[in-house]
Symmetry: C2
Subunit: 347 residues, 2 copies
């Protein structure tokens, strides 16, 4: 494990992306989101992905200095095309627009179509929360790998959603989750660790469950909606809704369109009641929930997002831990781009 | 079982509510929603509840000829107080306002606070779909009976949500579900039938699971978020979001406020892309999903809401089936209010 300071990682990431051809602005936005995500403890979507994006640039699947186009705009809504560039940049712009609209009209929602990956959703929803707004981020994931309820083959994207709620003195509530039983990054981690997965996560062509975490990547099994054994239809139902909302407005929910589709929505609680009243009620709700008597084996009742807030607090003090294997990849990519990692880190 | 025509039931219900003191308008709206819900196959929330509401009126918990107050209104949002009257009437008014706002500004969202029960959520979301809008209905349910993830006692309402999506030639998608593992009406039905419930639905004070469907009504166990054993935290997370959104803006999500809280939201897909394009993509998505190879034992891949659409089609031809026990209750209530059920049914 390598322990890195937030600022050092940000400088290194920015240098790498600039060396790969990204504009100053692109390199800054992508690095900000990746490093903040690592700081937040969401390692699967953080700096470990830098080499992956650099590779996409090299292979021509990800454009630098891309032009984001506004396809449509109304008082409260808009639709953007990411122009084949960084989803992060289009996503940040989209949520920024949604926030401006919500500040003016109480509601704002901006879609993005295109192939760009946007990383961890919580970042965008939290942009809204920082402005005292409710933030909602929906992502119709690439491909059609997830099996509907009752099916043995993929028809839906890996469709995560993130809803974040502003609070007063308590930490904001952040529900950031895959609508499949398991997030893909989690399968990768389990596979590296040689762990088995339970029934109800990946279904095989013959209708039985796979217990092998590599079975999805190998094309031998498809992830299903969360909730097995009693509520898989609910997880599946949510996946269909994300597919319809984030895919239906832009690209991706039909057979021929395989790109990403995103919607970034901001809602001002002040559209219904004084913001102070709202935030006070959220704080009171959080404390009420946390005061419940615990089940055996539970040290605490946690709110959605709380484990990540705790991890962020720790990492702000102790630095960001990066696995050796990921760190080696980052240093290698830097070297190939003639970025002197050691020098950049020192500042 | 009694087999009734839609129109006859509507006339009878309207007569009963009018006889109980409801205004003409109130009686019509409540009856329309209850009968449409029964027609849709959602018996738990349909006409069987007529005696329950009449009882609430008698006991003074539900006001007739109530005054709905607009507490706040902006271009896209509003907040209503149901004035202690029928939640149905306030709910229909709220979704109507959200629809008008969405038609003008592409997004509209109206909250309702107060003790009024609004019945089945799908009705309101479908109001939006009928106008080519996406409809979202969130309900923070009364009480704090549902246990958070890791807790053995209630802190959250029974918080259902309903999201409905307009389509072109296919049936609209309607995800209408409790965020708890089991809806309360379902427990009642299982209890009448002497059935046991599985682990992961109701948790007892000692942290073990109850297998008795009456355990919640008896105060011996609390429902938990759906998803046990691997994803209960996701169902719980959604419940917290509904509590925060529907409760936070009005009433109900904090310790001292135990009323209902609702939000009715309408979003115009035309805010992002031409409506025809959107609806075509949804149709294409539906057919793509339904074309997947099925698991053993599955006759069909169903979309959210499809079982109810199928049942509605059947009932439109064959009439609405009402269980004898519920029918006897309705006739009894009618008689007490001097409504000649037989005569009213004949028209």
């Amino acid at each position: 494990m390598v322990r890195m300071e937030e600022e050092s990682l940000r400088r290194l990431s920015t240098s790498i992306f600039k060396a790969a051809g990204a504009s100053n602005q692109e390199a800054k936005v992508v690095s900000e989101i990746l490093v903040t995500t690592s700081l937040h403890g969401v390692d699967s979507h953080g700096v470990r992905s830098i080499p992956m994006y650099i590779n996409s640039i090299k292979e021509g699947r990800l454009k630098t200095k891309a032009k984001i186009t506004v396809l449509k705009e109304t008082e409260t809504t808009a639709m953007l095309d990411d122009g084949g560039g960084f989803g992060f940049v289009a996503g940040k712009k989209a949520m920024g627009m949604a926030i401006s609209k919500a500040k003016k009209y109480k509601m704002g929602s901006v879609g993005v179509k295109g192939p760009g990956h946007i990383g961890a959703l919580y970042y965008y929803s939290m942009m809204a929360v920082k402005k005292n707004l409710i933030g909602i981020t929906l992502c119709r994931g690439g491909g059609h790998g997830a099996a509907p309820y009752g099916a043995v083959e993929g028809r839906l994207g890996i469709n995560p959603l993130c809803i974040a709620i502003p609070s007063m003195n308590e930490k904001p509530i952040v529900l950031d989750m895959a609508t499949t039983a398991v997030a893909m990054g989690h399968l990768d981690v389990m596979s590296v660790r040689g762990q088995k997965i339970p029934d109800g996560w990946l279904i095989k062509k013959d209708g039985t469950w796979s217990n092998d975490p590599t079975a999805f990547r190998n094309g031998e099994a498809a992830p299903v909606g969360f909730g097995f054994p009693y509520s898989e239809y609910k997880g599946y139902g949510l996946s269909v809704i994300v597919e319809a909302l984030a895919g239906g407005i832009g690209s991706g929910c039909s057979l021929d369109e395989k790109g990403f589709g995103h919607v970034f929505t901001a809602i001002d609680p002040a559209g219904y009641c004084p913001i102070g009243e709202f935030k006070k009620r959220i704080d009171s709700m959080i404390r009420h929930i946390k005061s419940a008597e615990k089940r055996p084996g539970f040290k605490d009742i946690l709110l959605p997002g709380e484990p990540e807030w705790n991890e962020e607090e720790r990492r702000k003090k102790e630095g960001i831990l990066v696995d050796d294997i990921f760190w080696a990849d980052i240093v290698k990519v830097a070297k190939e781009l003639n970025v002197d990692a050691e020098k950049v880190i020192k500042g």
